[in-house]
């Protein structure tokens, strides 16, 4: 029995669910079918999917970055402020100086520097990242309010500009940003599973002591990690701005909880040392489709969070059960009982 565990699962169904992301993709498919039944008018048409594909990329890109952070056993809660900051930098440079591509570069650079500073605060001051980045969420957010004077910006004239077409245009009916998000997903998957940086993150999250004795430069890799997270958050901020053609200070705040939820719904463990990129992609889709689907089904808005919570619990439990049913005490009990009788 113990030895059977070590070999590849012989059961084809079990083998199927061991493939990264299949289970969570199934949850997503079930939700789509469910909404087709409860809101056929919306979900049998294509429009709801188009607006969905237009809105999901920013939180998905942030969630992809956050997955890497969680793999390393760290947390980053500062991204809403980075999103807003990048959005502001882009908007103001476009509005006041008519910069487009340079504004993009400036916005990405701003996020990268903010991420780098987050990394320094975590590693050099030795503050646990959950706390450090929570502080940075306030700090960056406060700084932005001061700089922007609390104002909001609108840049509707950017529609049709090449930069808007490239990042938020439509390929036929399909929102381009969705392909950017998928591109980021592929890249992040490659980094985590095929690049030496990803391997460093896996071992750092697994055990700092082991990472140290195998010669991983822990501090440097962590700084790189938070820097990358800053860059991705900034990119998300720019995509958001190009889609909505506005900047407002609370722009990123709405993402805070859903991004964290998307990572864990996707099956990445909070204990670090492993991460599921495909899971995060579907986790982001699930969170977004629940929001869209419940509204279309006529469920009162405040039920949305209730259902996200419900799907959250179910998904996380399911992820644990697929890895090892004995990890879920309830299932372990049930299995033991079934065997006894």
């Amino acid at each position: 029995m113990a030895h059977a565990d070590k070999s590849a699962p012989s059961n084809p169904v079990a083998a199927f669910f061991k493939i990264e992301g299949t289970a969570i993709a199934l949850v997503f498919a079930l939700l789509v079918i469910l909404f087709m039944l409860t809101a056929p008018r919306a979900f049998l048409g294509y429009r709801v999917y188009m607006s969905f594909m237009a809105n999901v990329p920013p939180p998905m890109i942030i969630a992809l970055g956050l997955t890497l952070v969680v793999v390393a056993g760290e947390m980053d809660l500062s991204f809403p402020s980075v999103v807003a900051f990048a959005s502001y930098v882009f908007c103001i440079l476009y509005q006041d100086y008519n910069w487009t591509w340079l504004a993009l570069i400036a916005a990405l650079a701003t996020g990268t520097v903010m991420g780098f500073i987050n990394g320094l605060v975590v590693t050099k001051l030795g503050i646990p990242s959950l706390i450090a980045t929570l502080a940075m969420l306030f700090l960056w957010g406060g700084l932005l309010t001061v700089i922007s004077n609390g104002a909001s910006l609108a840049i509707p004239q950017i529609v049709g500009d090449p930069i808007q077409v490239v990042f938020a245009g439509r390929l036929g009916p399909l929102p381009v940003q969705f392909f950017w998000a998928l591109g980021v997903a592929v890249l992040v998957w490659m980094i985590l599973n095929r690049h030496r940086f990803g391997e460093s993150l896996l071992f750092i999250g697994d055990s700092l002591k082991v990472a140290k004795v195998v010669g991983i430069p822990i501090e440097r890799e962590k700084i790189k990690l938070f820097t990358l997270m800053g860059l991705l958050s900034a990119f998300a901020g720019v995509l958001l701005t190009l889609e909505t053609t506005t900047y407002f200070a609370q722009a990123g705040m709405g993402y805070l909880l859903i991004v964290v939820a998307a990572v864990f719904i996707g099956g990445t463990s909070i204990f670090g040392g492993s991460g599921k990129i495909v899971g995060t992609v579907f986790g982001s889709l699930i969170v977004a489709i629940i929001e869209a689907g419940l509204v279309a089904s006529g469920v009162a808005g405040f039920w949305t969070r209730f259902y996200i919570g419900l799907v959250f619990i179910v998904s996380v439990t399911m992820n644990a059960a697929i890895e090892d049913p004995d990890k879920v005490p309830l299932l372990k009990d049930l299995r033991a009982r079934v065997k006894r009788y």
Binding site: H3, A4, D5, K6, S7, M190, R194, H195, R196, F197, E199, L202, F203, D206, S207, K209, V210, A211, K212, V213, V214, G215, I216, P217, G273, S274
Partner: protein
Amino acid sequence: MSSQATSNQATPSTPIVRLENVGKQYGKVVSLKNVTLEIGSNEIVGLIGDNGAGKSTLIKVLTGVEPPSSGTLYVRGQKIDAASYTVKEAHKLRIETVYQDSSLGEKQPLWRNFFVGRPLTNRLGFIDVKAEKRVADQIMRSTIGFRGVGISVDTPVSRLSGGERQGVAIGRAMHFDSDLIVLDEPTVALALKEVQKVLDFIRSIKAGGRSCIYIEHNIHHVHEVCDRLVVMDRGEVALDAPTSSMTYIELTDFLMSLHSRRPAAGASH
């Protein structure tokens, strides 16, 4: 014999490593006091001493895991800058270590554990997973001799037994084949047959013209394979002598005399 030396300054007479008056303190705990020690080329040195004598600490300082609090370290005659000395640097200087505590990532598959820290990558840093798995598989079959039921290169370390883990760590050290191989209690979790394999490995280190530091509580094994014995006692080197100068009985008598001096030292506080 000198053909093994990869460093240009090294001549057969320069020791591979030399510690000079090295001290190490953890807060108020003094783990090493003024340790001066040389490991020559093609030498198997047995490092013995009580629990807590400072053997593992010495190894950690030597291999870049912990910086020394005082003293100097030389590798092939070259002074090492303590501030920039890391495990990575030690690997580059061809020093390989099997640490006493696990140095394997529990959740990671075996193949990653073999190559972590120095993966086979292309110029962009992407890992050649196929090549790593193939080599890891070879190491598992030939060197460690895993006939383990259902263990493959994809098995995570958390599913291995203590001895199997030790085997992976030793297999890794054997693969990277350095000039100095440090083994900190490598036989602890091993069955009799596997212990013989480790002893054979140490003999092959000698035969291959390389050096080894072998930490072991089983005095019999140490006496059997080592050229030189270094006994540590409460952070200091209490004895440093060729194995041929002492019989097994004399050695155990010496170690017992250290034990009997210990309560007296404790009482003087």
